[in-house]
C-alpha cells in the first residue's frame, strides 16, 4: 500500500454516512408515517429525535467533505501501518483475514444446527490452521483443549445453555455436582 491516503475509501465511508441519513428520512417518511409516529406531541412523535440526529450527521458530514476537498486527509491507521512493513507479503495476510471472516460466518451458520462443541472444535481448529499454526496436531489439540475449556467455564461453571445441535450433546456437568 502506498503512503497516499485512500481518497476513494474516505469518500465511500462519508457517502455511507449520508446513506444512513437518507435511510433515516426514508423510514420517517414511510414506516413511521404509516404508524402515525412521525408527528404529533412528544408521546407519539418517534421521528423527532432521529430527525435532529440525522440532520446533525449530515451537517458534520459536510464539514468532513469540506476538509477533504481542501486536501486535508487525515493520516489513517492504514497509512500508519504501511510504515512498518510486516515480514509476510500483504496480499497473503489479506487472504488470511478474509478466510477468518469467512470462518466466523460459517461458525454463526453452523452453531445452532450442528451444536456448540463440534462447531467450535472444527471452526476454531480451521482458524488456527489458516493462521499457519503448525504442526497440524498442535492446532488440532489446541482447538480441542479450547473447546473443552470454554465448555467447562460457560456450561459447567456459569450454567449458560449453549446450542446442542443435532447430536443433542452436552457434557453432563450436573453429574459432577456443578
Amino acid at each position: 500500500m502506498d503512503r497516499k491516503p485512500n481518497a476513494l475509501g474516505h469518500w465511500l465511508v462519508l457517502g455511507a454516512m449520508f446513506g444512513i441519513v437518507a435511510l433515516v428520512f426514508q423510514q420517517i417518511a414511510t414506516s413511521l408515517t404509516d404508524q402515525r409516529a412521525a408527528s404529533g406531541d412528544a408521546l407519539s412523535n418517534a421521528a423527532l429525535f432521529p430527525r435532529w440526529v440525522a440532520i446533525t450527521i449530515a451537517g458534520l458530514g459536510l464539514i468532513v467533505a469540506g476538509q477533504m476537498l481542501m486536501g486535508r486527509y487525515p493520516k489513517g491507521e492504514s497509512a500508519a501501518e504501511a510504515e512498518d512493513c510486516p515480514p509476510e507479503p500483504r496480499s497473503r495476510l489479506r487472504l488470511q483475514e478474509i478466510a477468518i471472516a469467512g470462518l466466523t460466518l460459517i461458525y454463526l451458520l453452523m452453531l445452532e444446527p450442528v451444536g456448540f462443541h463440534l462447531t467450535t472444535f472444527l471452526v476454531i481448529g480451521a482458524m488456527f490452521l489458516v493462521l499457519d499454526a503448525r504442526p497440524v496436531w498442535r492446532a488440532v489439540a489446541a482447538s480441542a483443549a479450547l473447546t473443552l475449556a470454554a465448555s467447562f467455564v460457560f456450561e459447567g461453571l456459569l450454567k449458560v445453555i449453549l446450542p446442542v445441535g443435532f447430536l443433542g450433546f452436552t457434557p453432563p456437568y450436573h453429574l459432577l455436582g456443578l
Binding site: 488440532v140 446442542v164 450433546f169 450436573h174
Partner: protein, 332 residues
C-alpha cells in the same frame, strides 16, 4: 512423538465423545434447561429464578433463566420459539406477550398456541399518591379533583398500553375522568418522580409500596380480590367506592403462566408439570414468593384455556379505555 500416537488418541477421544452423546433416548432431562424470561432484571426475575431453582431441584439438572427483554416481551417468545420443542426450553409466559400483545396486533400467536405448565404468580396493582399530598386525601377526592381539573394531572403506569395502564384507564373511564400517562423505561423511575413531585399519582405493586410505605399512600387497590388488601396494608379495593372496572379474576393483575412450545412430547410436558407443581407446593417457596410481593396462583394446566381465555376477552374492553383516554387528551 510419532504422529500415529496422536491419531490414536484422536480416535479414542472421538469414541469417548460419541459414547457420551449416545443416550439420546435416555430419560428427560439429561441436560440443563433454560427458562426464557421476557423482562429485564428485577423482582419478577427473582421470582422466576426461585421457582426455576426449586424445579431444578426436582429435576436434578440446572435451570438457567435467560432474560431477553424487548418489544413488551414479544422478543422472549420469539427467542423461545426459535428453539427446538424438546422441553429444554420453557417460557415464563407473562400476560403481556402471551395475551396482550397478540390482542394489539404485535404478535401472531394466541395463548392457545402454547402448552401450559402450571400458573405461577400474580401481582395486584394499586393507585398510590404521595403521603403528604394535600389536594386529595382518598380515592373519591382524587376523582373529584380530576373532574375539576380535566386532563391536568400526570400519572404513570410504567409504560403505555401495559396492563396497569389498561386498568387505570378503565377505572378513570368508569368515573368519567382522565389524566396523562407518562411512560418510563423502568417502573422505579416513575416511583422516583412521584416522590419528587413531578407525577401526581402512579400505579404501584406490593414490593415497591412496602419499601416506600413512609412516602406513599394507597388510594385504591385495583382488583376485586379481598386477599389483596393485606398486600397493601389493608387499603380499600376500588370496588369499595362503587367503581365497576369490568375486570375480574386475573384480568386486572400482572400474572404469568409457564408454557412450552407446541409439539413438546407429552411425557416431557408431564415431567415439567410434576416438577413445577412440587416446587410451588413447597412452603418455603410460597413464603419467598409472597415476601417478594407475588401471590402464587396455583391454577392447574386444565384451567389454562378457561382462565386465560376470559382474561383475553376482558382485556379487549380495557384496551378501548386507553383509546378513550387518548381521544380525551387530544381534545376529541
Amino acid at each position: 512423538m510419532k504422529p500415529f500416537n496422536h491419531l490414536k488418541s484422536a480416535v479414542i477421544a472421538g469414541a469417548a465423545l460419541a459414547a457420551l452423546s449416545m443416550p439420546a433416548s435416555a430419560e428427560y432431562p439429561e441436560r440443563n434447561i433454560q427458562n426464557i424470561f421476557p423482562w429485564g432484571p428485577g423482582s419478577a426475575m427473582a421470582v422466576t429464578q426461585i421457582i426455576s431453582e426449586a424445579m431444578a431441584q426436582e429435576l436434578g439438572v440446572n435451570i438457567t433463566v435467560v432474560s431477553t427483554p424487548g418489544a413488551a416481551g414479544v422478543k422472549s417468545f420469539e427467542t423461545a420459539l426459535d428453539k427446538p420443542a424438546d422441553g429444554y426450553t420453557f417460557i415464563d409466559g407473562w400476560v403481556a406477550p402471551l395475551v396482550l400483545q397478540p390482542l394489539v396486533g404485535n404478535a401472531d400467536w394466541t395463548h392457545e398456541d402454547f402448552v401450559p405448565l402450571w400458573s405461577a404468580t400474580a401481582v395486584p396493582f394499586a393507585i398510590v399518591s404521595r403521603k403528604d399530598e394535600t389536594r386529595w386525601s382518598d380515592f373519591p377526592s382524587l376523582i373529584a379533583y380530576m373532574k375539576e381539573h380535566p386532563g391536568e394531572l400526570r400519572y404513570s403506569s410504567g409504560s403505555i398500553g401495559n396492563i396497569p395502564h389498561m386498568v387505570m384507564a378503565k377505572v378513570m373511564q368508569a368515573n368519567d375522568v382522565y389524566a396523562r400517562n407518562i411512560p418510563y423505561p423502568q417502573d422505579g423511575d416513575a416511583f422516583k418522580d412521584l416522590r419528587g413531585g413531578l407525577l401526581d399519582f402512579t400505579f404501584n405493586n406490593p414490593t415497591t409500596y412496602r419499601s416506600n410505605s413512609d412516602a406513599f399512600q394507597v388510594l385504591a387497590i385495583m382488583t376485586e380480590n379481598e386477599a389483596d388488601r393485606e398486600m397493601f396494608d389493608g387499603a380499600p379495593l376500588v370496588g369499595d367506592f362503587g367503581t365497576d372496572m369490568g375486570l375480574t379474576g386475573l384480568s386486572p393483575t400482572g400474572w404469568h403462566w409457564y408454557v412450552v412450545k407446541p409439539g413438546t412430547p407429552d411425557d416431557v410436558v408431564e415431567t415439567l408439570r410434576t416438577a413445577m407443581k412440587a416446587a410451588l407446593d413447597r412452603d418455603d417457596i410460597q413464603e419467598k414468593l409472597k415476601a417478594t410481593g407475588f401471590v402464587p396462583t396455583m391454577y392447574s394446566p386444565d384451567q389454562y384455556d378457561e382462565i386465560v381465555g376470559t382474561v383475553g376477552e376482558q382485556l379487549i374492553s380495557a384496551k378501548e379505555a386507553i383509546a378513550w383516554e387518548a381521544d380525551k387528551i387530544a381534545g376529541k
